[in-house]
């Protein structure tokens, strides 16, 4: 193998690791907000991602049917709509289901799992059991190749940009907005936050809906790299929980660090071992570190 070929492979493999990092981070982010800030174990996270994916499908279908000229441009708008749709469903789910269970955290696990099964069957009845494929704009397909033999996937770049944007927005909202202040106050001490006049119930509902909305964005972005079907969300749920638990439940920084380390270990070991063995190695690493640090990589400093 020539040096230039070696360089290309190293570059592409490095990009593969970064791309997996952004995928993991994007899928974990919404979950981290809900789990970390509210203590609700949202098993329906994957299905909120599926809502986002189907929103893209619907938009692409509409664009194709009514004005084919719009196909290259509909995607950014569709991603916003995906957020809105998942946000609305999240709001509704919190109001109907989750808010009755705040004092029983383990029951939220069961309730949201039931919710996820119900939503899956809902997708199946609405869109049919077979997978669909949204028509993606041409600029999202294929690869960018700066030199011969070096192919950087455009969909990977795209997911990376979305992840960066969502991350930046979440950090802004969390640390620079009134909502963020209320969330942080509620997490730190719910009773005291209540006493100072913060409507913690309203804060919870907004937090849950925002977490779901971010899941919707993730689902929408993943239509470029994965499948859109009634059970597509379940492909991501395990990895999303791994990222959040490993990072330390209440810490956004921890989620980032954990997504990064899991992605690097996985993509490097996938390169040198086989796919299944790489998974075994990654999971064992997570297990060992969690045995030594049960609170995850970054634990938040909360007075209990």
């Amino acid at each position: 193998m020539s040096p230039s070929e070696l360089f290309n492979i190293v570059a592409m493999q490095g990009f593969a690791g970064l791309s997996l990092f952004s995928v993991l981070l994007l899928m974990g982010l919404g979950l981290a907000i809900i789990f970390g800030q509210m203590g609700v174990i949202n098993m329906a996270h994957g299905e909120f991602m599926t809502i986002g994916a189907y929103t893209i499908y619907l938009c692409s279908h509409l664009a194709e049917t009514f004005s084919p000229g719009l196909v290259p441009y509909y995607f950014p708008l569709a991603i916003l709509l995906a957020f809105v749709a998942a946000f609305a469903f999240g709001w509704l789910a919190e109001w109907l289901l989750i808010r009755h269970l705040y004092k029983r955290p383990l029951d939220t696990l069961l309730a949201t799992w039931g919710l996820s099964l119900g939503m899956q069957q809902g997708f199946r009845s609405t869109f049919g059991p077979k997978e669909v494929s949204p028509t993606l704009p041409d600029w999202l397909l294929g690869s960018w190749s700066p030199t011969d033999g070096l192919d950087i996937p455009i969909n990977g770049l795209f997911v990376m940009v979305i992840t960066l944007a969502v991350c930046a927005l979440v950090f802004l909202a969390m640390f620079r907005s009134r909502w963020g202040l209320r969330v942080r106050a509620t997490v730190a001490n719910r009773a005291m936050a209540n006493a100072t006049g913060i409507d913690t119930r309203r804060t919870d509902r907004l937090t849950y809906a925002i977490g779901c909305g971010i899941a919707g964005i993730a689902g929408a972005a993943f239509t470029t790299i994965g499948s859109t079907g009634p059970t597509s969300g379940s492909l991501y749920i395990v990895d999303a929980f791994l990222v959040v638990t490993f990072g330390g439940a209440a810490s956004l920084l921890g989620t980032i660090a954990s997504a990064f380390s899991i992605a690097q270990v996985q993509s490097i070991s996938e390169f040198f071992l086989t796919g299944s063995m790489a998974k075994v190695l990654t999971l064992s690493m997570i297990l060992v570190i969690l045995m030594m640090r049960p609170q995850g990589l970054f634990a938040s400093k909360v007075r209990r």
Partner: protein, 418 residues
């Protein structure tokens, strides 16, 4: 969709009584009218659900859960065949009544429902199962309760039962001829094998490797398996780029399949630069993957919707008339369509619904109206059928580019490949 799963129309008890009274009267008064319909006592000596005008069969697929993606086509095709048989007068003068059970993508549920169909409902035959796991779960029940199962999916082989008729290809039928085609027509010498990590891809790739190395004197430059549901293939794609195989030979399934092809395309691996031959992409999967990600890749199946023959034109027209113009027909859907026809032919040859007699009559049954063209049942209850290579088109259909000249003998226990 919903009407498919609605129960049979109910009669009020009084109306039912009236009906049976009337039919009894008719039967008694007009024996000449039913001369061609043999007496129930004669065609059913083992207590199956066979009446004078009706025979009950079961259908056991996943209408819900993960596998509904794949099994829906089979449910539809079997129903279509049964409707057509009924419209033409039924089996031995009896209309087929179907009891639909949902295996719900859960293997113990499959076993339980199989038992219910055989023990409580005494169905004369069952059309069903899709994954090997579900088939393995129900097989002991079919053998113990002596039922008949018609199984539609192409599968790994290494199985044979008096109680099962396999209407899809077993592994050697799907693999060997297509590898020979790749070697002869495409001058392929090196292969990279990729699969999801479970029994079917592993067994298939084992057969492929033996064939490439021992019979073709070619080279396997990589063999990789990824967990079911894996959605990230970038590292694998880089390994393929290093190995530079003539052919990527792929058996990735489910949601992973979509991720695999989307990421191949995004990494610049397209048909103009790299040949890919797959065992796991039919028109059904192409719906989810998107034709633009597949265009130019090859798929090895025995049936494609685009097959140009009269049987298939009739079948496609009837299927689309029943299930809508946008529905697509994959390999397994067609194989599922054969099940009821093979059962009907075997029952008529045996002159009986008894499972032992039907099983004994099954070898040698010919299906001349098969959409894939003429097929024949082998002594081992698998089908003699042709192998075909289809090239994926941007609209999600396949263009048939090669076809085996002869029917290929099914060989579920291939010597030299284990």
């Amino acid at each position: 969709m919903t009407s498919m799963f609605a129960g049979p129309p109910r009669m009020s008890p009084r109306r039912h009584l009236l009906c049976s009274f009337l039919s009894a009267l008719l039967l008694a008064s007009a024996p000449a009218l039913h001369a061609e319909t043999p007496a129930t006592a004669k065609v059913n000596t083992t207590g199956l659900a066979v009446a004078d005008t009706e025979v009950t069969v079961g259908q056991l697929h996943s209408a819900t859960g993960t596998m509904a993606i794949s099994e829906t086509g089979s449910i539809q095709a079997e129903q279509l065949a049964i409707d057509q048989i009924n419209a033409a007068g039924g089996v031995l003068g009896r209309k087929i009544k179907v009891i639909k059970e949902d295996g719900a993508s859960d293997w113990p549920t499959f076993a339980e429902k199989a038992k219910k169909l055989l023990v409580n409902d005494h169905v004369a035959a069952v059309f069903g199962c899709w994954t090997s796991a579900s088939r393995k779960a129900v097989l002991p029940i079919f053998e113990k309760e002596n039922g008949m199962l018609y199984y539609p999916t192409f599968y790994e082989g290494l199985e044979q039962s008096k109680n099962v008729v396999y209407t899809g290809q077993e592994a050697t039928q799907q693999i060997l001829w297509s590898l020979d085609w790749a070697k002869k027509e495409k001058k392929a010498k090196s292969f990279f094998l990729v699969g999801s990590d479970y029994i079917w891809p592993r067994t298939s790739m084992k057969i492929a490797r033996k064939h490439i190395e021992n019979f073709q004197k070619g080279k396997v430059v990589g063999e990789e398996y990824y967990p079911l549901g894996n959605t990230n293939f970038n590292s694998l794609i880089n390994k393929i780029k290093i190995a530079k195989p003539d052919v990527i030979f792929a058996a990735v399934v489910g949601g992973s399949n979509v991720a695999f092809y989307k990421q191949l395309k995004a990494a610049g691996i397209t048909a103009d630069k790299q040949m890919l031959l797959t065992l796991s992409v039919t028109e059904d999967e192409a719906l989810g993957i998107g034709g633009e990600n597949l265009a130019g890749f090859f798929s090895s199946m025995k049936y494609f919707e685009s097959l140009d023959n009269d049987n298939n034109k009739k079948f496609v027209t009837a299927f689309k008339a029943k299930y809508g113009p946008k529905s697509v027909i994959g390999d397994v859907t067609q194989a599922a369509y054969l099940g009821p026809w093979i059962w009907k032919a075997a029952v008529e040859k045996a002159g009986s619904f008894d499972v032992d007699k039907v099983a004994a009559a099954t070898p040698g049954i010919e299906v001349k109206i098969a959409p894939e063209g003429y097929v024949k049942v082998h002594q081992n209850h698998h089908l003699w059928s042709r192998a075909r290579i289809g090239m994926a088109q941007a609209d999600g259909q396949f263009k048939v580019v090669a076809e085996s000249p002869e029917l290929i003998e099914p060989n579920p226990f291939p010597k030299g490949y284990q």
